[in-house]
């Protein structure tokens, strides 16, 4: 009996306070228990019947008491009721007619207002809302008063036990935020609970989450900023979907925190200052986006961003004093990857190459094919990267890296890649063309590509030329080996030579003769442009003023020593300059002397080891035998083709001597 009563009470609680949970429980019982929905519903109704009867009886008694209280009749007999109803109806009709127009409008308005009012008041539980608010406030102040009873306080809060609170309940989000200070995990659990089970109070959960995030973003010092990434790690699997403004801002805050973390890790003052500068740039971008975004929580996030910026700028101001007084030299030199378009400061010379390209193309009646060739690490790809800047607006360079797997994948992927490269190249010149898709090129690819090129040439301004640069073109050999490469080369040969707006430039370390008849048969008429050493006049500005803030100085001997050791070989020049800056920074000096250059060369011989290894391998066995002999001042063996190759690769000069002293030093060490 007791368990039945408890069950009945629980049912009543669920029906009134948690209807969706009640619904779920009924559904789940239905799925796992009863045979059919109808039979289960009937059984449930029978089980609830006594409770329904009791409730009805209580209702009738309350009614009766009310009527008694107002002195109305208490004769509850059916004939009397029927009579009453009949009399009521009759009286209503009579009264209605009698009152007529006089009361009609007033009554209609009264009913029109009263009925919805009662409905809203009852359905939306407005009657109990003040009580809910009071309980919520009590719970919050209890939690504030004593944090050790926060769990109990939360149980008092109506949101934890009442699902049907339509109006926003104050203090709920504050209570949830308060809980994070005591028990973060429990707080997130309750936020997840509110989100899933208390849909009407979901906004409170969201507000709490935002407040927690803002609190986590708060920092008193720059060193605290770097810990933010860890503090915000919970947002990755937040218990509720975060608002858009927060979702877009958090990755930026994290990036800034990472810059700050890097700032703390770095040793050099210049690099530290750079890291802070990046952080400030990032926060500025974030502020701009938050100012323009019209979202509810954007101002709160913006306040946090403003605070971050203030801390960062204060720190940057302090560090700048150290940077100015420290002896550290910024190191802009790059050896390894080619110089990108944005790093143009460390790209020097090559005006002769640009002039040759321009002269070959401009004014030509029939556009030629070009071959930009030269030894490895001579800066060919860097030249290609700089072409958009160096060539005028009438050229739209499009670089295709033939080492990209798209080139050797299939004819379709290759043509798709070519189309993409041309589109990107043209877009830099504000000519928008839609690139071809893989699907479009699946059938009759050459025909489709030709039509596309026709349309591209029509869109291009009359004076504009697209310069399609096939970097590392030797890699197309794989396409030849696969069989379909020949068709592609034939297509290049036959189609592009008649195009008036597209020029092809192959770029590699080999000439067509070196690659064999597959190439010479097709492209023998290509105009060659050779890339070789930088001149002394080209090297000097690179070494002395690569970027405006570069404040290292050289003695005249030091400058000459660098040029002599490298002979203007771009890779080695950058490598020695890089090592020289590193060495001087270790020494806290800014003036490079000849001894420092020697140290830098020694380091560069190690750090640039893979370049020398490549030279050694490319020489082949015969070439290596020649190099061994030359370095020992012996008479080199008679291998004419190897000797020619070494000359073409700028390793030996016409007299059979090493052109670059650093290469000679490396070979000497290798062969010892």
């Amino acid at each position: 009996m007791k368990s039945y009563l408890l069950w009945l009470l629980r049912q009543l609680y669920l029906i009134y306070f948690c209807p969706t949970r009640f619904e779920r429980e009924i559904e789940s019982l239905h799925i796992h228990g009863a045979r059919s929905r109808l039979s289960y519903s009937f059984r449930y109704f029978v089980k609830m019947l006594p409770w329904i009867v009791v409730l009805s009886a209580v209702g009738i008694i309350i009614n009766w008491l009310c009527f008694e209280g107002f002195g109305l009749t208490s004769e509850w007999k059916w004939p009397v009721v029927a009579k009453g109803v009949a009399e009521g109806v009759a009286a209503s009709v009579v009264l209605g007619v009698a009152a007529g127009v006089a009361f009609g409008v007033t009554a209609s308005v009264g009913v029109g207002v009263a009925v919805p009012f009662v409905f809203w008041f009852v359905y939306f539980r407005l009657l109990t809302y003040p009580l809910d608010t009071m309980l919520s406030a009590i719970a919050y102040f209890m939690g504030r008063w004593r944090q050790d009873i926060l769990a109990q306080a939360w149980r008092i809060c109506p949101v934890s036990w009442n699902e049907v609170i339509w109006l926003p309940l104050p203090f709920v989000s504050k209570l949830l935020v308060l809980m994070t200070q005591r028990n973060r995990e429990e707080s997130f659990r309750q936020i997840a609970f509110v989100t899933a089970e208390r849909r009407l109070q979901r906004s409170a959960a969201l507000k709490a989450l935002l407040k927690i995030t803002i609190n986590d973003l708060h920092a008193e010092s720059v060193s605290e900023l770097s810990n933010i990434t860890e503090k915000l790690s919970w947002t990755i699997d937040a218990p509720i979907d975060l608002p858009v403004e927060l979702n877009t801002s958090l990755p930026r805050f994290e990036r800034i925190a990472q810059h700050v973390e890097q700032y703390h890790t770095l040793n050099g003052m210049y690099r530290k200052s750079e890291a802070l500068k990046h952080a400030i740039d990032e926060i500025e971008a974030l502020q701009k986006s938050l100012i323009t975004i019209h979202r509810k929580f954007a101002p709160d996030i913006l306040r946090a961003a403003n605070e971050w910026r203030r801390l960062l700028e204060e720190e940057h101001e302090q560090i700048r004093i150290y940077v100015d007084s420290s002896k550290e030299i910024p190191n802009p030199f790059i050896f390894g990857n080619p110089v990108t378009e944005t790093e143009y400061n460390v790209f020097t010379g090559r005006k002769d190459i640009v002039i040759q390209i321009e002269e070959s193309v401009l004014g030509a009646i029939q556009l030629p094919m070009l071959l930009l060739h030269g030894p490895r690490r001579m800066g060919k790809t860097s030249i290609l990267n700089q072409l958009p800047r160096l060539l005028g607006p009438d050229f739209a360079p499009a670089v295709l890296d033939c080492q990209d797997p798209a080139v050797t994948g299939s004819l379709t992927t290759l043509l798709e890649y070519v189309s993409k490269a041309i589109s990107i190249g043209l877009l830099r010149r504000r000519v928008a063309v839609q690139q071809l898709t893989h699907t479009e090129l699946e059938h009759e690819p050459f025909s489709i590509f030709n039509k596309w090129l026709d349309s591209v040439e029509q869109i291009m301004p009359p004076n504009m030329r697209a310069l399609l640069c096939l970097d590392e073109y030797e890699r197309l050999k794989y396409a030849l080996d696969e069989g379909w490469g020949r068709k592609f080369l034939d297509y290049l040969r036959h189609t592009f030579q008649y195009r008036s707006h597209v020029v092809i430039m192959f770029c590699g370390s080999h000439t067509f003769e070196e690659l064999g008849p597959e190439w010479t048969d097709r492209f023998i008429s290509a105009r060659r442009i050779r890339v070789s050493f930088l001149t002394q006049n080209e090297v000097l500005p690179l070494l002395t003023k690569p970027i405006p803030e570069f404040d290292m100085t050289y003695t005249q001997e030091a400058l000459e020593a660098i040029y002599c050791a490298t002979n203007g070989q771009p890779f080695l020049t950058q490598a020695v300059a890089f090592e020289l800056v590193q060495f001087l920074n270790q020494q806290h000096r800014k003036n490079a002397e000849i001894d420092d250059v020697e140290k830098a060369i020694t380091h560069a011989l190690v750090s640039g080891g893979e370049y020398f290894a490549n030279v050694w391998y490319d020489a082949g066995e015969d070439g290596q035998a020649i190099l061994r002999a030359v370095v020992k001042d012996d008479i080199p063996p008679d291998f004419p083709s190897a000797r020619t190759r070494l000359r073409e690769q700028d390793i030996l000069n016409n007299n059979g001597e090493f052109i670059v002293p650093m290469v000679k030093r490396w070979v000497k060490k290798k062969t010892q």
Partner: protein, 169 residues
């Protein structure tokens, strides 16, 4: 882990957009393993990696030998390895070694001056030896054993890890 051609093509193209804002760094530890799996990691793979490197992705490899000895020389196009500057890793500097021993570790009692001195002496700035020595000193403290025993264990461990350990000292 094996890359087929389409994956090599698709994955980095998928990642290209973020490259504009962020700087991806691919770290390949124990590069020698590639050499042992030449059938899976073909010239195409390295060629593709080089191409992504040229496009803005940084690649950091660690190996005992230079990359030119670990990858095939390949075809007439530029080899994978020739864009890599070499940094030779040696033992810690004196300052770094001291910092390592002096580092405050949460929940761990700091080493005494005597312990620090013995650890530094045994490790001779070698990172692994520093780790091993610190480990044995902490273990010996837990089991109430002497510092001499800890150092002896560290020495034995180092001989097991690096057979030539201690020669020439």
């Amino acid at each position: 882990m094996a890359f087929k051609k389409p994956n090599v093509y698709v994955v980095p193209h998928h990642l290209q957009k973020p490259w504009k804002e962020q700087h991806p760094i691919l770290c390949l530890d124990e590069f020698e393993e590639f050499k042992l799996r030449r059938n899976e990691f073909t010239h195409d793979f390295f060629s593709a990696l080089r191409s992504y490197g040229q496009r803005g992705m940084s690649i950091i490899t660690t190996s005992q030998k230079p990359l030119s000895e670990l990858t095939e020389q390949g075809d007439s196009s530029s080899p994978f390895y020739n864009t890599f500057p070499i940094t030779k890793l040696g033992v810690f500097s004196n300052e770094d070694a001291k910092d390592f021993v002096n580092l405050k570790r949460p929940g761990i009692e700091p080493f005494t001056p005597k312990e620090r001195s013995e650890i530094l002496k045994l490790a001779n700035r070698h990172p692994l030896a520093l780790n091993v020595a610190c480990f044995h000193v902490l273990e010996s403290k837990r089991s109430n054993e002497s510092l001499i025993v800890a150092m002896q264990r560290a020495e034995d461990d180092m001989h097991a890890h690096l057979p030539g350990w201690g020669k020439g000292r």
